[in-house]
Symmetry: D2
Subunit: 408 residues, 4 copies
């Protein structure tokens, strides 16, 4: 076992860290004060700086203009970027685009890559991934209503999706739809690329979530597919391979989320400590002298360290043994880190008192948006059942497939 970080990687991390501190954090109050789409110009300027600094696309293959970092390396970068809500976007490694790049890279045809992956990797357009449906439990992904029916060389898609992150302004959606309704559950769906200007594709609304409907990349939409017609060549991978591809996407995607959350946690702890060290509770007496605040700090430090090591271990296992072999670690860290995130943000807010609830710090925004961390990409309850069922099979008890997960 060796926990050291190679010097070159450490240097790269330091450069990312410096960029975040010096270029991104100062812009936070400016951009946070207005809707996402109104901050577009500033963000594009930041992206240009990132390109100029040779830091754009850390996870993107070199052939596509990125840095081509491996999974473990990118996990460390991702933590650094997580310090700011603008971090990942600036470097074009934000969800859901990063996941779409990954599956296009792994499963796309050459034509699909040219048309969709190249401009995505360049940051020239945005995309979304439409899986969750309003009337079907997200915990049960095989149970989809959206249908893509074959009509000659085309699919005709009917159905409804929601919580489609970043659909607002996206150039295309990767849509999970049932193509083979009579196949076994995990072989029923396919992933199909639907350009958002396709007739029959409709953005119903941006869903107001924890207080606002957001806009552009920073929003979640409800979508209607009302006979949207796309060529069969828009299908990603084999027919019926939707879940297989989703699994390839979601497993590592969870690790990316976790690393981003750890970045958020570090930021929240930093703010907590700054507040504790500077807020007077009586003349000359700082808040940090209170033992409860000290408990908050120490418990946060411990939990963040724990979560980070678990993510790094899972990332290492993915790199060495593959996503499937690491699925227990992925599920475990997903719910563990989401819990840590919630607790650390809560403690930091409590340390700030009323200030913690204002938009004068990034805490409120983190806290509101990341409540979803315990729900998206598999709710805590689902991941716990999945992990326990896997373990219990090793003891001879088969509880059956957990309804609602992409991996058993």
């Amino acid at each position: 076992m060796d926990f050291s970080i190679a010097p070159e990687l450490q240097q790269l991390l330091d450069r990312y860290r410096a960029f975040v501190r010096e270029r991104i954090l100062p812009l936070e109050p400016v951009i946070a004060a207005k809707p996402f789409v109104d901050g577009h110009a500033e963000l594009e300027a930041l992206r240009d700086e990132a390109r100029a600094a040779g830091l754009f696309g850390p996870q993107i293959p070199k052939s596509l203009g990125g840095l081509g970092l491996g999974f473990r390396e990118h996990a460390l970068v991702s933590e650094v970027l997580g310090h700011s809500p603008l971090g990942h976007y600036t470097f074009n490694c934000q969800a859901p685009d990063a996941g779409n790049m990954e599956i296009l890279h792994l499963f796309g045809t050459e034509e699909q890559k040219q048309r969709w992956l190249v401009p995505l990797a360049a940051g020239a357009l945005r995309s979304c991934f439409a899986m969750t449906e309003p009337d079907r439990a997200g915990s049960n992904p095989t149970w989809l209503e959206t249908r893509a029916e074959r009509d000659g060389d085309h699919y005709v898609i009917h159905g409804r999706k929601w919580f489609t992150t970043s659909a607002d302004g996206a150039a295309f959606a990767v849509v999970m739809a049932v193509t083979n309704p009579s196949a076994p559950p995990y072989a029923r769906a396919s992933q199909i690329i639907v350009p958002t200007d396709t007739p029959g594709y409709r953005q119903v609304r941006r869903i107001p979530v924890v207080g606002g409907e957001g806009s552009g990349w920073a929003s979640h939409s409800e979508l209607a597919f009302e006979g949207a017609r796309v060529p069969v060549s828009h299908r990603l991978g084999e027919e019926g391979a939707g879940f297989l591809i989703a699994q390839e996407r979601l497993g590592p995607g969870r690790i990316h989320h976790c690393m981003r959350w750890i970045g958020i946690c570090e930021r929240a702890l930093e703010l907590m400590c700054q507040r504790a060290a500077s807020r007077e509770i009586a003349p000359g007496r700082m808040l940090g002298t209170r033992q409860t605040i000290q408990n908050f700090i120490a418990e946060s430090r411990a939990e963040i360290d724990a979560a980070r090591l678990m993510v790094q271990h899972a990332a290492w296992k993915i790199d060495v043994e593959g996503t499937y072999a690491a699925r227990e670690q992925i599920s475990t860290v997903k719910f563990f880190a989401a819990g840590v995130l919630g607790r650390v943000l809560d403690r930091s807010i409590q340390t700030h008192g009323a200030l913690g609830l204002t938009e004068d710090t990034p805490l409120s925004g983190f806290w509101r948006h990341e409540r979803a961390a315990r729900i998206y990409d598999g709710a805590d309850e689902v991941h716990k059942s999945v992990v326990a069922r896997r373990i219990l099979r090793g003891y001879g008890l088969d509880v059956g497939q957990q309804a609602g997960t992409t991996h058993g």
Copy 2:
């Protein structure tokens, strides 16, 4: 000990309950979809209905047109109204106006009552209470920067306040300001009524809190007092009696908050159960069959029952022995109930999944706004220290005054 509720009171509670269910809940989606001030007309219409039904002003003395309920009775009404974010406002028992009515009633001169209390009780104007300051820990209420200096028959006020709830659109503010800087800490401040059209009074901004700055009654403002000049006759009670009056206001006020929170909890539990009983996780299999959801429901039921009994007990003690005698119970239930509120809302959101984060249910709004419950009117940490220090004095240990509380 007798936990029964008198039949007449039960009837009254049933009438409030019916009003909330039939008249208020259906309006929630309509009013929640727009800023508070834009829903003003609908709310005024609701208030007229409440007046017509003889339910307006449950806690307001009969002489002022209310129902004149005692403390314990009103606590029960308050729970019923807490089911909706619009409940208390509809019946004119919302904070901060209800607290201002109470101190005007108890400490106001006849002239003050005529000018401020009568229209407040009638719902003809709104008010606010300006105590918290941005640069002074709220946990240490005696440590105020705002000064009211005597200049003949007037006070001239300088200072800054924030988190002044409902200042936006208020007709007057009750301001806590130091009038006697060299007196003992708890005798330094006075409460002074400042009409909001007084020169030198300025609403700096509505503070963006957990995602939005709100408007009107549903907002929190930062205020500047820049030489605001008001007659000495605007002072409430004796000079230096500010904390004494605040104590009379805050103690029962905490109980009112607690009962409102319990109403919110009941609503959240009801939504949790409805969701559990109706959401399919697999064909024909409801979410409520999952044991984790059952745990959520049972734990919520237990905690809500516990909190309600504690509030009722504290209310009974206030009625029988007075606020001062009940201060341990008030502090205890304040932090206990705030914790229950947070946990029950969290479980209900988790039960709803992504839906719980949208504005399609009132859960997200409750959750965002009531995060503050563990902070306002004394943070958890402060109340715990207060309670423990009081208890430890009974064992011969005097830890000294907890910085930052209005009662020791």
Copy 3:
């Protein structure tokens, strides 16, 4: 609602409290230092004092020589007695004898009462209640292996029981055995009185539990029934009424446990405060100045108050509406209070440091023996499911009977 206690009851409580403080607590170190049976003489002397003081048998009907207190009154006495592990035994209201007295009183024939109830009430003998079986989940009480087969005027009993509290030295056992195997689940078993000198009755062992096997009243035994033969007249109530009677016994019994636990909690909090007020952590600086200890005290105060009010409310409901109507409250407080008990004991031990783990205080003993509180008389998990299922039925979802409870 009225939380006051009648003056006569308050006086009686004060007398019990004085007896516990003055007579019982000083004997704790003496009796705790040796096995239960070796302290028998001291305990009998204490009982004589209790008789002389007119305090013996608070819950026992006056006709049988007790004080005849109602349920609510006895609940308050029970809390007082809970301060010491010797409290209930001293006054002859200890489990399992108190429960056996209750069902003998309610369901016994005159002959049974003369033979078993009268000496029990006098404290002349001890008894036990044999329900739990080693190979059958206690969570599923209808699923019993022990059989009582009719053979003329006798039952012949075969089976195995364990965790039969106080069987060691008992004069008789009330045994739950299947008499009607083909009846519906809740009508299969009967309760049968088996004198412990019956051939075929065998005490297999005292089970070593959390560190020791104990002795006499303070022990839990494994029992074998190997053809034990008793007259049919030893049956309590109707054939097949075993669960009905068990329900009458267990519902109020849970409330008794809860009140006893609250007494333990108060003792633990008292010890915590004494330690905090007297232990120096640096010269002249007491442990109670540490905020974490203050948090322990305040949180314990809040939780104990919550649990007490819930028990009192449940006791009131049992008195007014009956056990069946109060079953939700009984289940709710059972798991809630058991949790509070565990947490308060844990905090008190932590406050004492290493001393808390020694037998120099009663904390270690309470902590070891009462870990079982979250298991016996229905594990937390079972009660939570029971409560949630009942609530969900009100929302139209029938999850079915929870396996393993005596009331649905």
Copy 4:
């Protein structure tokens, strides 16, 4: 970062694992059924087997007959041995002897090594470490009452110690005593070897702890030093170096405890899973089908993984950068892992129901003895304060030295 384990080390771990499974676990019920000293013969036979297998003394230098494993390697072995309460003793790496070997190795004179270290390493005698005092808070180690006064070439020791683990039957004690009362706090004490046959050394009692006083190695004693006189050459290291040496001993010692706890956790989780997979709650329906049990398993899995990675990381840091550099990680994992241990044992007991409280499984013993884990070697509260104060110094706030820790 690389989480892989070298093949040779993996082989060695497998051999230890096999020995534990095949040789030690079967003896547990035999040895657990009697006092430690009565199982001495069986344990010595086990040690002979360990010697024969070349596994005796994994952490002991090769020059002393051990395997000479490095810190990280031994940490992994320690986890394996933790599965059984007999594990460490069997291989002569049990506390407190292992710690004493370490400081003798690092700080002992050649004469001291020959006389004390060689037989300790051979398993020929036992020792103890006397630091904690009954009247001085363990949280404040510099505040000792025990004095060693110089009298020519001898020290004369007066004072009282307690919780001296394994003093019963030990050949010598390493005693922490004040030699330089007027030196700065951390330079006041020295460590002095006191053979237990020294006149003036007295074992007052074995302290009854969580239910029993134990015996031999498995006990904690109270000791009196009443003029015990030993040559100055019995001092370990420099005069006044007591804390320095204690720090060298306690830092790595905490890591050893943590690894042992993780072994206990794995055993508890294994038992939990076995129970879940085999206990019927209804005919044909296993306990492991219940979601609450699944939550227990998944949460335990996550927390154990987190704790293990933290310990391994701290061990790596100690190896690479030294104990002092790793002190934040040591404190952090100490309280984190102790918490995990408590929760995992609690869940395993709850899963077992009443059986979990008996001595029929090792759970009850683990649970009773390891409650102390949150107290010994620095209570949770102390470590949290230490960590937070260190972190806050990085933000410019100096809260001062935490009373009661050996490292600041």
